[in-house]
């Protein structure tokens, strides 16, 4: 009994010590950080490469980069709101949450005195809805979900979304397990906006989606390219990097830029309103916009580059890849999946739930 008590006491002391460490250590380090040339980046794991981007930046400027990660845009927004737009200097996130963040007043304008190379960006990617005057966000990469298929396993030629309903594709589709993206695809196939909230149009989309049931083999959010390469599906509608990865593994696959319209997304960087090292952050934005750095980022992340100057210096491999190069011809047809009100978002979720339950 005595021994047991001792162990419990030791365990309690340990737990309390760990908790205290968790609470205190970040405070100590951030306090120290303000005295040094530091840049706190907040984004997804592995989204800015260390060797080719962060390390050269540190060497050139002497600024120490701290890299914190989030798992989802929503998590980023919660955390940034909780610290009232402070703590972080550069945040890299997706278009719709950029819009929410700007509207909530959590962004500050970048300093055009330091960020002098904004002209490197292709005009198709600036002045977007999340930053109409291009004064808050520097686009980092952009993507368009595409159809990719194995012609040896498919009897028809696929040109657009409507071909996915062809009975010849029975039990052979892999689609993205996301209400907005996949119902959005159905809406595009009907010539409607992906962001419609019209009940009649949505009811029609739900009906059209239900007719796709027999052709679907797999629903998954990421990694659909694996199913395509392994032969589990013969057609996939998936995000840019996965289309490119599928093509790497099997060059005989065909990529389709759907004729009816395109989904579209931009991930961009901004400086939070109370960033502790705003000057360093501006320096970093200038660095990211340089053609050779932007080129490396696009190649590394397997996304399309919004940086026109980067396309001049980027590798031939990238330039000749139809997944990456096609965007400049079709950007006019592209549409964002925008954030809707809770009630409208619920409509999409309900259609999706009903559909998945019917599978």
């Amino acid at each position: 009994m005595k021994k047991k008590g001792l162990w419990i006491a030791v365990a309690v002391v340990l737990i309390v010590a760990v908790l205290a460490a968790i609470v205190l250590i970040p405070k100590l380090t951030t306090k120290k950080a303000t005295e040094e040339p530091v840049l706190n980046i907040f984004t997804w794991e592995g989204y800015i490469d260390y060797e080719t981007v962060i390390k050269p930046f540190e060497e050139e400027t002497g600024i120490k980069v701290n890299y914190a990660t989030f798992a989802s845009n929503e998590e980023m927004y919660e955390k940034l709101s909780a610290v009232n737009g402070g703590d972080y200097d550069i945040i890299l996130a997706s278009d719709y949450i950029l819009n929410t963040t700007r509207e909530a007043g959590l962004m500050q304008k970048f300093d055009t005195g330091i960020v002098t190379n904004l002209g490197n960006l292709d005009e198709g990617f600036t002045h977007q809805y999340f930053d109409p005057d291009s004064e808050y966000v520097v686009p980092y990469v952009s993507g368009i979900p595409l159809i990719v298929y194995d012609p040896s396993a498919v009897d028809i030629e696929i040109k657009g979304f409507n071909d996915l309903w062809n009975p010849a594709l029975k039990d052979s589709l892999g689609l993205i397990d996301d209400a907005r993206v996949t119902i959005g695809m159905v809406l595009l196939s009907m010539g409607q906006s992906m962001n419609t909230t019209d009940d009649a149009v949505l009811a029609e989309a739900a009906e059209k989606l239900a007719a796709l049931k027999d052709n679907i083999h797999v629903l998954e959010y990421e990694n659909l390219h694996n199913y395509l390469v392994s032969g589990d599906v013969s057609v996939a509608y998936t995000f840019t990097p996965f289309v490119a990865l599928a093509l790497d593994a099997n060059p005989d696959l065909k990529v389709v830029w759907p004729e009816e319209g395109l989904g579209f997304g931009i991930d961009g960087c901004f400086i939070p309103v109370n960033a502790p090292h705003a000057k360093n952050a501006n320096q970093f934005l200038e660095f990211l916009l340089r053609p050779e750095i932007a080129a490396v980022c696009a190649e590394w992340q397997y996304y399309c580059s919004p940086n026109a100057a980067a396309m001049e210096v980027i590798s031939d491999w990238y330039k000749e890849n139809p997944v990456f190069s096609g965007i400049y011809d079709r950007i006019g047809d592209a549409e964002y999946v925008k954030n809707l009100s809770s009630a409208d978002e619920q409509k999409f979720q309900d259609i999706w739930t009903t559909f998945k339950l019917s599978l």
Partner: protein, 288 residues
């Protein structure tokens, strides 16, 4: 509690000193967040839980929809099938393990324990590679001439069930094993001596006497199975389980109140199963 009354007053006071910090931790890390979730589920949509907030049951009423009930039903069904299969496969395994010789026993035990050394996620991706259309399992089946066209295992309900059973079966094997191991073999021998056939002796003696282990295993498998959804997602099953519903409610619809109500229902179901288990004379699972 018999051992408590035997304790000296001093010892019991001392143990209270040690229990206090643990209780504090339990309150801050378990009870407070739960109270917050409960509170959030009881205030109007868009409101956050605070003192003096107006309470409503609307968030719970909103769950009374055919499709949501179907989602809960699907989750319970998957958990039930997982538990059943884990038992059907796990019990004989546990039986052999308990009856095996010393060397075999430790080897079998290793087989049960080793998977815990790596993340379930990594192991499930391993299964995905085995099961894919041009993967090893299809290659073997083709080589044996059993099939002509590759079977598309992935994305099927069976593949989801396989992943679930694979991840959960240890929690069935371990309590069953300890029950069978503790079983007095002479009781089975007595039944056999009195003319009972082997299967009768098993049904009349072994099975009832190892019931505590079976029940504990069922609870340990069933309860987490109701909430897990990432396995179905990884296997491409396209299922909607309660976990998916809660995640989408929180992150996509951004309705934390309804999402909290869903979470509370899930907790009630789990608690209900646990209470049922205790009522039926179940062990404390080492929880209390």
């Amino acid at each position: 509690m018999a051992h408590k009354s035997r304790m000296h007053a001093g010892e019991s006071r001392r143990s209270a000193v040690f229990v206090l910090p643990m209780a504090l931790l339990a309150v801050t890390l378990v009870a407070l967040p739960l109270i917050y979730v409960l509170g959030t589920s009881l205030v109007e949509t868009g409101q956050s839980f605070s003192f003096g907030a107006a309470f409503t049951l609307d968030n719970y009423r909103r769950l009374l929809r055919a499709d949501y009930l179907l989602v809960f039903w699907e989750s319970l069904k998957l958990a039930f099938l997982t538990t059943l299969l884990s038992f059907v496969i796990g019990y004989p395994f546990a039986y052999c393990m308990a009856r095996a010789g010393k060397r075999w026993k430790s080897l079998l035990m290793m087989l049960v324990i080793i998977p815990f050394w790596t993340s379930a996620l990594v192991r499930i991706y391993g299964w995905k590679i085995l099961l894919q259309a041009n993967g090893p399992i299809n290659a073997v089946l083709r080589g044996l001439g059993l099939i002509e066209k590759n079977i598309k295992f992935l994305g099927s309900y069976g593949s989801v069930l396989l992943a679930m059973v694979y991840c959960m079966i240890s929690f069935m094997i371990l309590p069953c094993h300890s029950s069978i191991d503790k079983l007095d073999v002479t009781l089975v021998e007595a039944a056999r001596d009195l003319g009972s056939k082997p299967w009768r002796a098993f049904l009349d003696v072994t099975l009832p006497l190892t019931m505590p282990g079976i029940l504990a295993g069922c609870v340990l498998v069933f309860v987490p199975s109701v909430g897990i959804f990432y396995l179905a997602d990884i296997m491409g099953g396209g299922l909607v389980l309660v976990g998916n519903l809660i995640r989408d409610q929180l992150l996509k619809v951004r309705d934390w109140n309804t999402g909290s109500a869903m979470s509370m229902v899930l907790i009630f179901i789990t608690a209900g199963i646990y209470l049922l288990y205790r009522r039926s004379g179940g062990d404390d699972l080492g929880v209390f």
